[in-house]
Symmetry: C2
Subunit: 666 residues, 2 copies
């Protein structure tokens, strides 16, 4: 068999593995794997620097299937190039409960999957994060002739990814930053679910990406011209200034004559008869799920080359170790998720005499303290650095020519910001990505936050300006339902600290959450330091910040800036002979994970007069206040007026807390 | 005073009104009003077809301040050109509680404000909707020589708007559709909050918009060259094929030497001393909030011209009326929010014998029935028409050359889709915009949905594939927290119908909600028609769908596809001598708005054994189930497997409902 023939056979193996798995599952998206099989084959067998025997190799090139619905392309490639998973059995279990081959690729399920994709455009933005992480580490660690960090990031996108706004945000930033090692393959098949791209997507992609500062290359026939694909990938790698987009013209569902080139090929199994016809058409004479011996033998070279590549890198790292032992130590420490000794010993502590400060301000102080210990603390704000107070003063801007710096200027691009941070986290090199905006604009990046949680990315989200206390900017800028809406996302750690001590405690948790995202909810306005506020107790999610003598008549439960109102109200209640306990509840999810004994000790079930005070939606509070409790909350949009006046008019005063507490006790 | 002088004086009046109001409020964004005052002046006094004496004139040009933080520019322009509001008193009350001049423009507060803006990029997408509505109405109603619909849509954007992904989505679609009457003024001041645009935004905007199919014009000196601004606006109007972007180079904070050209000018009052200096610098010799008499007299011509323009249009419409009386009647009906007689008389009704169907399928049937009555029913899906079943079969695609059609192909652009629908609704011409995607991707458009509610836009959101029953596509595509997260948004009507009858009832509400957005939550999978399901009772939000003899021992509460489980479980409980009532609760917000008597009749407080069954987050359910109740819910991410298996494994079986119900009764 000629080399050309075995290459073609390998490509068709990808096609049939994909089509057969989708057929067996009776569910899936054959269009992309059939059309992009040649590009996938060239990339994985000739270009990608990877070692199938060690998917965790630190310097591997990263591949992201942004068009995640084409998962069978990736599973086929991983299997054929020698990764231990997915096995053929796994592929036969495509899209089944507990399989290693879920409908869309999930990094927490299949070892060689870098990031979880599916929601369109996310993967492209993840790739920008992966590429930024690489540039940062390279700038910090590489030495002349000893480039121990030099991986490329490849990403495959479809029309859907490019229509999504997040892809413009991410691509514009990547172009600005000159992320030369980012290479995006665009599966340009002119077809979406609704039909031809003529229906809604007639823009000039080449012009758009060139405007973003990218190199744009084109492959006229991605169905068969694998030499052109390889040449374009090499040209992409050769550009040392810009990220590259390779526009590869393909036919969706290639090989299945009944459906190819049509939206029918996109998202449903081809059908038994169509697969029979496709076998004839592509001259495929093998069993279902069979991998021809020639293909096995041919593809096994990928793993061999990968092992050699890693061995070569290991030897380079050994050279590095002997020449730069201190840098080597730092590099190894960087790659580890272990926290350096003493990292939390100087977190700020405040006494009640400390002057009132906004928790966003205290956050900025903590962030700068943490930056002393974590050179991989890396991030910034969506153009709100002065407001979010997220700038690391000991470092400069991460820009072309200064990639060693820790401050990434995201621009007004919240959605991409979140997804880029996911990519940075999932580079798995010990980076601690953080990002910031106003809490209300968490809505712009909500799917990225969800994806952090789903893919166990330890991103720190810093959301400031957390209530109607934002004031004059008015309802468009005042969060109301946002704290509750974030509490809803599974596996997301949400913390709303009450003062500086709780801010320190919140960051302690966020840093420790290396495989879970954390959201910090912070005030715009100053708040006092509270008697008995406790950084360590934030790790319990909730605690008694002020107790009374004897059994409480009522429990006041507050979070964030409203805890102070509860404490002041409790002070007054005591003078009236009412026993009031105050509970600070900065994190519901952490509190819920405590023992029932602890929870009962804080919120004894026998005490059913409970009043929650939080300047946001009451939704969910019933869980803590119960049938006989009440909530001071905001269940409408805010209003434009000075922040104090907003709080007052919405009932966030000591007087109102007192009144509502007494009403409960009647 | 020369004409040039009075023009300059008028521009400076805008500048000082803005600066003074912001100074008095001690809050606001002077940078944009100072820099964009000349563009605002030219647009409002020379180009915009508007009648300040009648802000509701149907054929007025629309203006959207997408960079909503520059609100004082707009308030100044409205006041100077003769709108009754805001008055000078209103301007003195800028950003104060209950004022007509909130921090960001709000259409529900100030009559002449077309749309509420502030969250960046939304306004540009709203403008695409406004422009699409105009093209649609023009195509339906205009006759040769009688163009009764021909308004332009102008939009002012800043760097922030253009960095947001939503602006790429919207601009790409506008270019595709060739919305020639959309003209965007780009306040190109090179400065954002973080500093120079060099930090994060170095793309070629001209190239990007040309790639989107726009005409791009440039004004080199937008600070002083008002002739160039006027010429560019005229060139923009002259292009009969493409939308236009006018890149106007301005100086942020122009005139305030201490701050101009710097991010310091952006978002804080200039300061007393700086304003004194600015007065000298711009030779301004008037009192605070004083409008020079020459300016008053000069600007009064705008209202005169506006009245004439409207009178001319009225006469045109009268001609139209006499020549095309039937079309005229239709036009007037279109503009009205009144619902045509009989619109709801043929909504589908189903009996228990009807075959099971997915509620998305029933939704498609209703939509097509409604399309017979509402030519202004206008919308579509974000490239999921076949899945969302949202295509109006009696019409074709809204495309260049076929603007009379009702199906708008949004492409994979959820965020812009929502905001475009807001624009369509807020064209206030009786259009009923709808849009659709998978429920999980509501996250991509969440701020647009919030803005619908805040701005009272009667958009219908059709979100299908509403639970883990989505199946094989897995956790990235399976909503869990989404129904709850939508219930959180103030003033948003959320309905999750249980079967075809409830779907009909849900649409009845959605259509009647002309000044409130409605979200319909629909299944992918088939569900049976339920005995006693009731379209009319959906208007109560919740109702007893199956009762028992005598006092219930337990109440099972379900929504959507889970009501069937409750009914089957109740049937079995009865055979075991347990009195079970079943409540279908399709809409929490509607149910909450009922009388306490009605609510008590459905969910008597004496019955505290209550079990909710909903395939999503339990968050919030405590409100209905109380301290002694329980919820069958999903509080983790989903999984890739066939939908039935997912439901089964997550406990959505009759057996589990029975078991959990009995556990409650123990």
């Amino acid at each position: 068999m000629t080399f050309e023939n075995v290459e073609q056979l390998s490509i068709n193996t990808i096609r049939f593995l994909s089509a057969d798995a989708i057929e067996k599952a009776n569910s899936g998206h054959p269009g992309l794997p059939l059309g992009a099989a040649p590009a996938g084959y060239v990339l994985f067998s000739k270009i990608l620097k990877h070692n199938p025997k060690n998917p965790a190799w630190a310097n591997r090139d990263r591949f992201v299937l942004s068009a995640g619905h084409g998962s069978m392309l990736l599973y086929s490639l991983l299997n054929l190039t020698g990764y231990s998973e997915p096995t053929i059995e796994d592929i036969k279990n495509f899209r089944q409960w507990n399989s290693k081959t879920p409908g869309h690729p999930e990094n927490t399920v299949t070892p060689a999957i870098e990031v979880t994709t599916g929601p369109l455009g996310q993967g492209l933005a993840n790739s920008v994060g992966l590429a930024a992480a690489e540039r940062h580490l390279a700038a910090r660690f590489n030495k002349p002739g000893l480039e121990i960090v030099d991986n490329y990031t490849y990403c495959l996108v479809g029309d859907g990814c490019l229509m999504e706004g997040i892809s413009s945000e991410a691509a514009s930033l990547a172009g600005h930053l000159g992320l030369e090692k980012l290479i995006v393959l665009y599966d340009d098949n002119h077809v979406t679910i609704d039909g031809s791209t003529d229906l809604a997507f007639s823009e000039n992609i080449k012009g758009r990406f060139e405007s973003f500062g990218w190199q744009v290359l084109e492959v006229a026939d991605g169905d068969t011209d694998i030499n052109a694909i390889e040449a374009a990938l090499k040209d992409a790698k050769a550009d040392k200034n810009r990220p590259s987009l390779i526009k590869i013209r393909t036919t969706i569902g290639y090989g299945c004559t009944a459906k190819q080139g049509s939206s029918d090929a996109h998202g449903a199994p081809l059908g038994k008869d169509n697969i029979i016809e496709m076998r004839k058409n592509l001259n495929w004479n093998f069993e279902t799920f069979e991998i021809p011996e020639e293909v096995k033998s041919h593809m096994s070279k990928v793993a061999d080359a990968g092992s050699k590549a890693e061995a070569k890198w290991t030897s380079l790292v050994n050279d590095y170790k002997s020449k730069y032992p201190e840098d080597y130590k730092n590099y190894i420490n960087q790659l580890s998720d272990d926290l350096p000794e003493g990292w939390d010993s100087n977190l700020p502590k405040y006494s009640v005499d400390s002057k009132p400060m906004a928790t966003r301000g205290q956050s900025g102080i903590v962030l700068n303290e943490l930056a002393k210990h974590f050179k991989g603390l890396f991030g910034g704000s969506a153009d709100l650095s002065p407001s979010n107070q997220t700038y690391i003063k000991s470092s400069g801007d991460f820009q072309k020519g200064s990639y060693e710096n820790q401050n990434l200027r995201f621009g007004v691009r919240e959605h991409a910001m979140g997804a880029i941070c996911n990519g940075i986290a999932l580079h798995k090199s010990g980076m601690i990505p953080y990002c910031a905006t106003f809490l209300v604009f968490a809505d712009y990046m909500r799917n990225a936050i969800r994806m952090s949680a789903l893919s166990k990315a330890g991103v720190i989200y810093i959301f400031t300006h957390d209530s109607v206390a934002v004031g004059e900017d008015g309802p468009t800028h005042q969060p109301v339902e946002h704290v509750a809406s974030l509490r809803l996302i599974p596996d997301l750690c949400v913390i709303r600290p009450a003062d500086g001590n709780e801010v320190s405690g919140a960051y302690k948790i966020a840093i420790q959450n290396r495989h879970r995202p954390t959201v910090l909810i912070l005030t715009r306005q100053n708040v006092p330091i509270l008697q008995n506020s406790d950084a360590d107790k934030v790790s319990k999610g909730g605690y008694i910040i002020k107790d009374c003598n004897g059994t409480p008549d009522i429990i006041l439960i507050g979070t964030g800036s409203e805890v102070q109102l509860c404490i002041k109200a409790a002070d007054k209640l005591v003078t009236e002979g009412i026993n009031a306990r105050v509970v600070s509840l900065p994190s519901w999810d952490i509190f819920e994970s405590q023992s029932s004994e602890y929870k009962e000790s804080v919120l004894p079930s026998s005490i059913d007069k409970r009043l929650s005070v939080e300047a946001g939606s009451r939704f969910g509070w019933n869980e803590y206040t119960g049938n006989k409790g009440d909530s001071i909350s905001i269940d409408r949009f805010g209003a434009s007026a000075p922040g104090d006046e907003c709080l007052h008019n919405f009932g966030f005063t000591v007087e109102n807390v007192l009144e509502r507490a007494k009403k409960l006790l009647k």
